[in-house]
């Protein structure tokens, strides 16, 4: 949206940033889920490493499983690191402006919505940040490539008819969504 | 020589004997069962099912196996199926027919009453296993599927893919697990029984070695059950598991249990041949292959040589230069002659120098003509009138694949040959031992309180076992026979109280076992255990195998005795007694095989008749249509040889159990 129309992006952002349902209900749920996912994921990872005390001298993981599936902790931690950056870039300033300074208008002093302007500002002329963003989304993609279909298996859904479809959808989702974000970062970097 | 009492109840017709026995047998009060301990050694189909059932009845069971889990007992390797007189296919099967087939298949050397009981309980086994969750094959209507097996005229064989033994064993294992969880079975994995302890003339316990720590332990009980399988590994190479052994049975024999028909061994015709001297075991392929495969060797010596040196491929040998020896010798049955006949004929050709692999011990099993036959049939069905030769082969291969695909894959995995393109190579191998510890109708050995079940005993298969009958017998003994018969004995033991392991008998037995172990690890000889085992196997195979004669057997007796003497002087066992020491385990087992082997030869020498799988060269038909075929001698040899131990195998004393056939008329087997 930010690529297509600055106004549209601003409107949607303002809606999401001030709507009580989004802010009061969905945001905490999302934050809780994400935190739960991290904590639980890392706890399980800890258990998993404990389950083999002596490591193999020779272990050919690539012979039987994809890199993505074997390295969820790496892609996951990378995404976590990205989230920290993202929070630092956007979320903390947002919270600061909205809830600490109490400015719910979402406007710049000149009367325009600030969201698009801030977004562009973060990327334009910031090659390191843009690279980090791009890299993070590649990691997210890898995480989702395994994670999407894996979640179905974990809750007990595995069906000879539907599982192949889920895997395909998962692959599309896992590539398309991060790719979209990558485009945002790249467009703003190159366009400004 | 004396005769022995088999305790078969008299006075009722055969078909009512077991029912009437069950009605009248002494039962043990449930409250008293709690005070009775039973040791079960071996956790295959027989031992596993017995342990589970006895525990369920309320006895305290201690079960032992040398494997790391009861689930790994060698019953697991049985492929084909299990017989049961269910008559689900409506093809005229009945208890009587199964009974008749089994007695006839055993060449009239099994005990009628036991076999009839086996046939009676067979149907119940299937019900039981289905209730336990054994996934037998089913048809599209959801009902159980059957197949015909081993040349019988009815379809009575139930199967679970090619893994019937595995599934039945896992069923018994699950029943055991349920009782282990309830605390009614105490399970001892990786424990090997090394002696049975007799107190006041009764079996009261065993001595075991913990295979992991080497500890020698005493275990007491009111009765001891041996479900320890067969002794085919006396031949070194067999289809048995590497650990399969005779030790438990042999120790019982040395303590007073008679050993019956040791020379009765089944040699299976369709095994994958040995590829070199390093070979450690042989792999069986289902007999069903003979339904479509044609067996042959080259008819000319020069072709044999060319094949052995690799300059000629079997497919290049013209039809007229092939010797389809089974079809030639047995036009009526051809490639479907019984196991013993097929095995002997293969060995005869190979001994005559026509064997087709580097070792000279292999014959071809060829599917080329079956592929063409099925291919033509399919072309007709599909309306392809002018199908090319390659198209016909393609269609035919599909059918063969559907029927035998898993066997072909297994063959390819082991030999790296593609049996769709080139004939398979097969050779007979030792597969099952019909002989075993002598038991009466109650499955009790001649040691009071010591029972033998499954392949470890001798009773049901006579001189030759039919396909899909071993699984049936193991489960019948364990689930349905022993749990009744053992009560008759234990009902006299309810006031005995716990058996102490501090008695001098236990102490002496433990001392002897320990002494033996110490001897092995301290001997520091020059030859490995396998060196002796291989030598023994070679003597057994050459002189006590499919075809035997007096001279060879006498030589075998001397050679084995000499080999045994050498073993006790020069065997070398590395490591210590108090650790996990596989060489030490083997040493103990081979020591017993070296004694059993001699008794085996002695028994074969005594049996101057050809019967079942055993061809005695002095006992052949002369003249007439059966000229040169095996001649059974019912007049002189319709008995069970039960050997009593007297210090060493050469001095074993023969007791005869005369076999009576009330229901069945003795007939000559003819496959011409």
């Amino acid at each position: 949206m930010s690529v297509i129309s600055a106004d549209l992006f601003n409107n949607v952002s303002h809606f999401m940033g001030t709507n009580p349902v989004v802010q009061g209900l969905l945001q905490p749920i999302l934050i809780f889920s994400v935190v739960f996912h991290f904590v639980w994921g890392m706890y399980l990872e800890y258990q998993n490493t404990q389950a083999r005390e002596v490591k193999y001298a020779m272990y050919k993981g690539s012979a039987n499983a994809t890199w993505m599936s074997r390295n969820m902790i790496i892609s996951g931690l990378a995404v976590l690191a990205f989230l920290c950056l993202h929070f630092y870039d956007f979320w903390i300033p947002e919270i600061n402006v909205k809830y600490i300074q109490g400015d719910m208008s979402g406007k710049l002093p000149n009367g325009d919505y600030r969201y698009h302007e801030e977004l562009v500002h973060k990327f334009a002329g910031q090659p390191i940040r843009v690279s980090l963003y791009v890299l993070s989304f590649v990691m997210l993609s890898l995480h989702l490539l395994h994670g999407f279909q894996s979640s179905f298996q974990s809750v007990g859904f595995n069906n000879s008819k539907y599982t192949p479809i889920i895997k395909k959808l998962g692959n599309i989702f896992a590539i398309a969504v991060p790719a979209g974000f990558v485009v945002v970062a790249l467009v703003h970097f190159f366009a400004h | 020589m004396s005769t022995i009492d088999n305790k078969v109840p008299h006075g009722k017709p055969l078909k009512d004997t077991w029912t009437s026995y069950k009605d009248k047998v002494d039962l043990v009060n449930p409250a008293n069962k709690r005070n009775l301990d039973i040791i079960v050694v071996g956790t295959g189909l027989a031992g596993g099912s017995a342990a589970a059932t006895l525990a369920e009845q309320g006895y305290n069971v201690k079960a032992f196996c040398y494997q790391d889990s009861p689930r790994r007992a060698h019953s697991i390797a049985a492929q084909g199926g299990i017989n049961a007189a269910k008559n689900y296919q409506g093809d005229g099967d009945s208890t009587y027919r199964l009974f008749y087939d089994t007695v006839k298949g055993g060449d009239y050397r099994s005990r009628e009453a036991n076999v009839h009981r086996l046939a009676e309980v067979s149907a119940n086994i299937i019900d039981q296993c289905v209730a336990q969750g054994v996934p037998f094959a089913r048809d599209y209507g959801g009902l159980l599927d059957n197949r015909s097996f081993g040349g019988v005229l009815v379809s009575r064989t139930f199967y679970a893919k090619g893994q019937t033994g595995q599934q039945l064993l896992l069923g018994a294992y699950s029943a055991m697990n349920r009782q282990i969880a309830r605390g009614k079975i105490t399970m001892y994995n990786r424990h090997e029984m090394l002696d049975v302890v007799i107190v006041d003339g009764k079996a009261r316990g065993i001595i075991t070695r913990n295979i992991v720590t080497g500890e020698i332990d005493r275990h007491s009980a009111h009765a001891v059950v041996l479900g320890t399988g067969g002794y085919g590994n006396v031949f070194f190479l067999s289809t048995n598991a590497m650990g399969s052994n005779v030790t438990a049975g042999w120790k019982a024999h040395k303590r007073g249990a008679y050993f019956a028909n040791p020379c009765y061994t089944q040699i299976h015709p369709t095994c994958i041949p040995r590829s070199g001297d390093y070979q450690s075991k042989l792999t069986l392929m289902s007999e069903s292959l003979r339904n479509d495969g044609r067996i042959w060797v080259p008819g000319r010596k020069e072709d044999v040589d060319a094949i052995r040196n690799g300059s000629l491929k079997p497919t290049q040998i013209a039809e007229e230069n092939r010797d389809y020896y089974l079809e030639r010798r047995y036009p009526a049955f051809g490639n479907l002659v019984p196991r013993d006949v097929a095995s002997r004929a293969a060995k005869e050709r190979c001994d005559a120098g026509f064997g087709v692999n580097a070792t000279g011990e292999a014959v071809y099993l060829d599917f080329a003509s079956a592929i063409v036959r099925y291919g033509k049939e399919q072309a007709t069905i599909k309306g392809e009138k002018n199908a090319s030769e390659s198209r016909i082969k393609e269609l035919g291969k599909d059918i063969v694949k559907a029927k035998y695909g898993n066997l072909f894959d297994m063959y390819k995995q082991i030999t790296d040959d593609n049996p769709y393109e080139t004939p398979m190579m097969i050779y007979p191998a030792v597969h099952y031992t019909m002989g075993g510890i002598w038991v009466d109708y109650n499955l009790m050995t001649t040691i009071p309180g010591c029972y033998a079940i499954g392949e470890a005993n001798f009773s049901d298969h006579g001189a030759n076992r039919l396909g899909a009958s071993a699984l049936m017998q193991g489960l019948a003994d364990g689930y349905f026979v022993l749990p009744y018969t053992i009560g008759a004995y234990l009902s006299y033991d309810i006031r005995t109280g716990p058996i102490s392991t501090d008695s001098p008998e236990f102490e002496a037995a433990e001392k002897e076992v320990t002494k033996n172990m110490e001897f092995f690890v301290n001997n520091k000889g020059t030859n490995s255990v396998d060196y002796y085992h291989k030598k023994l196997g070679n003597i057994m195979w050459e002189k006590c195998g499919m075809s035997r004669n007096e001279k060879g057997l006498n030589e075998a007796i001397d050679e084995i005795a000499a080999l045994r003497e050498d073993f006790w002087k020069n065997v070398s066992v590395p490591g210590y007694a108090n650790e996990l020491n596989p060489e030490l385990e083997k040493a103990g087992r081979v020591a017993d095989f070296l004694e059993l082997g001699e008794l085996f030869a002695k028994d074969a020498l005594d049996r101057n008749e050809s019967c079942g799988g055993h061809f005695r060269e002095e006992s052949v038909e002369v003249g007439g249509p059966q000229d040169g075929e095996a001649k059974r001698d019912d007049k002189n040899y319709a008995y069970v040889s039960a050997w009593e131990y007297k210090g060493k195998p050469s001095e074993a004393v023969l007791h005869k159990e005369q076999l009576e056939f009330k229901e069945i008329e003795l007939k000559q087997r003819s496959y011409k």
């Binding site: 258990q47 404990q50 389950a51 083999r52 005390e53 020779m58 050919k60 993981g61 012979a63 039987n64 994809t66 599936s69 969820m72 298996q153 809750v155 007990g156 595995n158 | 059932t53 369920e56 790391d68 889990s69 689930r71 790994r72 060698h74 697991i76 390797a77 689900y88 019900d127 039981q128 209730a131 336990q132 969750g133 996934p135 037998f136 089913r138 209507g141 959801g142 009902l143 595995q166 599934q167 699950s174 697990n177 969880a181 992991v212 598991a241 650990g243 590829s275 070199g276 390093y278 450690s280 792999t283 069986l284 995995q413 790296d416 689930y479 349905f480 590395p574 650790e579 996990l580 020491n581």
Partner: protein
């Protein structure tokens, strides 16, 4: 057809409480027709004859069904060939001059007893916690054909029941998870009407025992399915999860 000379790097460990390490051995004259275990026999004969202690390893049927053999060969459970146990692996899968790593199946729940021998009794304990149908073996059951079972279900149950309990799934899983093994047993019974009755509690009990044994968790890498010598399908784990969740939600 030339005989092979090989370098073997084998884990040697004297006993359960000793420290182990990889040791190099040379074997010569190995035929391509030998099975992997026969190659090990050659090595052991060589070690015995030179007064060394032979390598202990579990093996029994040597026809791929008992599930005893348990070697981790060149980084893979049961070696490089798929759908195969170690005993059915043949030396033709290797080349003259190769170096072969041979290690025990490793997991906290499979402690090493000696060299390549591990203790898999944790599997037995899981089975004991619920891997059965609670039916008496008295023989007073209904007729086997009284309850038709759809062929598809029976076949799926058979596929799940083909598990030989070797532990390759655990050994190969980066998390040492036993879910394929447990899932297979739960599935076999869940698919059959006889086992359906106690299916949910069975799943609860077996999973609890599995966790207590110290196996890791499933992250659905699918390695177990690939390395399983009997081709047990990953869908069995999903079925276990389903039965387990169903059991968790039940009052």
């Amino acid at each position: 057809m030339k005989d092979m000379n090989l370098t073997l790097k084998i884990w040697r460990q004297k006993g359960a409480n000793d420290k182990g390490k990889m040791i190099d051995y040379q074997v010569a004259g190995i035929s391509e027709h030998m099975s992997f275990l026969e190659m090990m026999d050659v090595l052991n004969e060589q070690l015995i004859n030179s007064g060394d202690s032979p390598v202990a390893f579990d093996h029994d049927c040597r026809e791929g069904i008992c599930g005893s053999c348990s070697m981790f060969i060149n980084g893979e459970a049961h070696g490089p060939v798929k759908g195969t146990t170690t005993c059915q692996l043949h030396m033709r899968s290797f080349k003259d001059g190769d170096t072969i790593y041979i290690e025990p199946f490793r997991a906290k729940a499979f402690p090493v007893l000696k060299d390549l021998v591990v203790d898999r009794s944790s599997f037995d304990r899981i089975q004991r916690s619920g891997g059965f149908i609670s039916v008496n073996t008295s023989g007073n059951t209904q007729d086997a054909n009284a309850l038709p079972i759809p062929k598809q279900d029976a076949d799926l149950a058979m596929d799940a029941a083909a598990c030989i309990g070797c532990g390759a799934c655990v050994a190969t899983c980066k998390n040492s998870s036993a879910m394929l093994f447990v899932g297979a047993k739960i599935s076999q019974y869940a698919l059959l009407p006889q086992g359906q009755v106690e299916s949910k509690t069975r799943a609860q009990n077996m999973v609890a025992q599995m966790d207590a044994e110290g196996f890791g968790n499933c992250t659905n890498t699918g390695a177990c399915e690939v390395e399983c010598p009997k081709g047990i399908d990953l869908s069995n784990i999903a079925r276990m999860n389903r039965e387990f969740l169903g059991g968790s939600l039940k009052g």
